[in-house]
Symmetry: C2
Subunit: 191 residues, 2 copies
DNA sequence: AAATAGCCTTAATATATCTTAAGGGTAAAT
DNA sequence: ATTTACCCTTAAGATATATTAAGGCTATTT
């Protein structure tokens, strides 16, 4: 739990009372590999902070094909924010790619924390701003770069993830088929 | 200026003192068509709230081709958030597509407002959460849908924009060439 | 140890999208 | 009123990426 407090304090210091309140509203949880913490059709109940392990958020299209929207590993937050705030059924899945440990905060608890610790508004504002910047960069890549360039960019920016993920998951994140990623990798290795 | 206050009050009520402070720190400005309010290589100095008109944020690739990252029209915010907060040179341009009126807040002013009106942390947290959700949906479309599906989705979600934008700008936003968009439109009109 | 399932690769063929080139239409600039 | 610049379209040929099918390799599972 200290890890979560430390995480928040990277943004702003907290006093003991604030730390205590956060601790009462957050719950640690172990997740097995392949376990889902969100499924399509259900409301996203939590904001989840990843202590150990790795998750993917994905959608399934009409043909049943999965598309990875996001990966989140250590010290990152994952949630379907739209579903969480609107309390509407999600169209997304969140699945553990590895055995993981997380800390979860439920919606009412998070709202309670926001009211009693206004600093958290600031902290989460910055957290989401950073996620937005990252996503906007990825979007720019997607509309302007070839699949090979996107793959190289992914390797450079997310080395820590790239080595832990099967290529098939990376392909889904890049928006290409595993077969085509395989071709890209061959072309690269042939210099 | 009242428009900005009203905008904030859609999220949370403000008292007179808060309104007054915001007004002293925000500046209205008229922008001509094609005028740039941010250019590559410069630090993004402002958060800009659009009263009237329409802007695009775009990047220029090595070949000199422009890629539209985002459109923002009435009651939306536009800024290169990364450049703004880090005070680092931007890689993006922001240009008025129509003659426009905006209200701008400089970095130091916004930070001053955040400190003196903690509510604004909450308000901007929600604003950016909504932008994030929108962008994540677009990202999902981009990795999972064909150009035709993306175009139809764009028309459905942004009718108000679609009719005001030249197709060449829409094509750039969708990540396709104008020629291919033209073909898509023909295929659609042939049912 | 065998069987199963997931992952990675290869290659042939098909489809989506880009490039280049050209022409016509319309709005802004002179 | 003419010119210029921008925008939209069409089409042929090129390239990027998807689809299908097959085979091999590992790590589980039986």
């Amino acid at each position: 739990m200290q890890r979560l407090i430390d995480h928040f304090q990277q943004y702003l210091p907290l006093n003991d009372e604030e730390k205590e309140l956060i601790i009462t509203r957050a719950r640690p949880r172990k997740i097995r590999r392949r376990q889902m913490i969100l499924q399509e059709g259900f409301v996203c109940k939590h904001y989840s902070f990843v202590l150990e392990g790795c998750f993917r958020m994905f959608a399934v299209d009409q043909k049943g094909v999965e598309h990875n929207v996001e990966f989140v590993a250590e010290n990152g937050w994952i949630s379907d924010i739209g579903s969480f705030h609107a309390q509407k059924p999600s169209q997304l899945f969140i699945e553990a790619i590895e055995a993981s440990e997380i800390i979860q905060i439920e919606q009412q608890d998070l709202y309670h924390l926001y009211i009693n610790i206004p600093k958290l508004d600031r902290i989460f504002k910055v957290i989401i701003e950073n996620k937005f910047i990252e996503l906007q960069n990825r979007m720019l890549q997607n509309i302007s770069a070839t699949a090979q360039q996107r793959y190289l960019h992914f390797l450079a920016q997310y080395q820590h993830l790239a080595t832990r993920l099967p290529n098939t998951q990376i392909a889904s994140y890049l928006g290409i088929t595993p077969e085509f990623l395989s071709k890209i990798r061959k072309d690269l290795s042939d210099h």
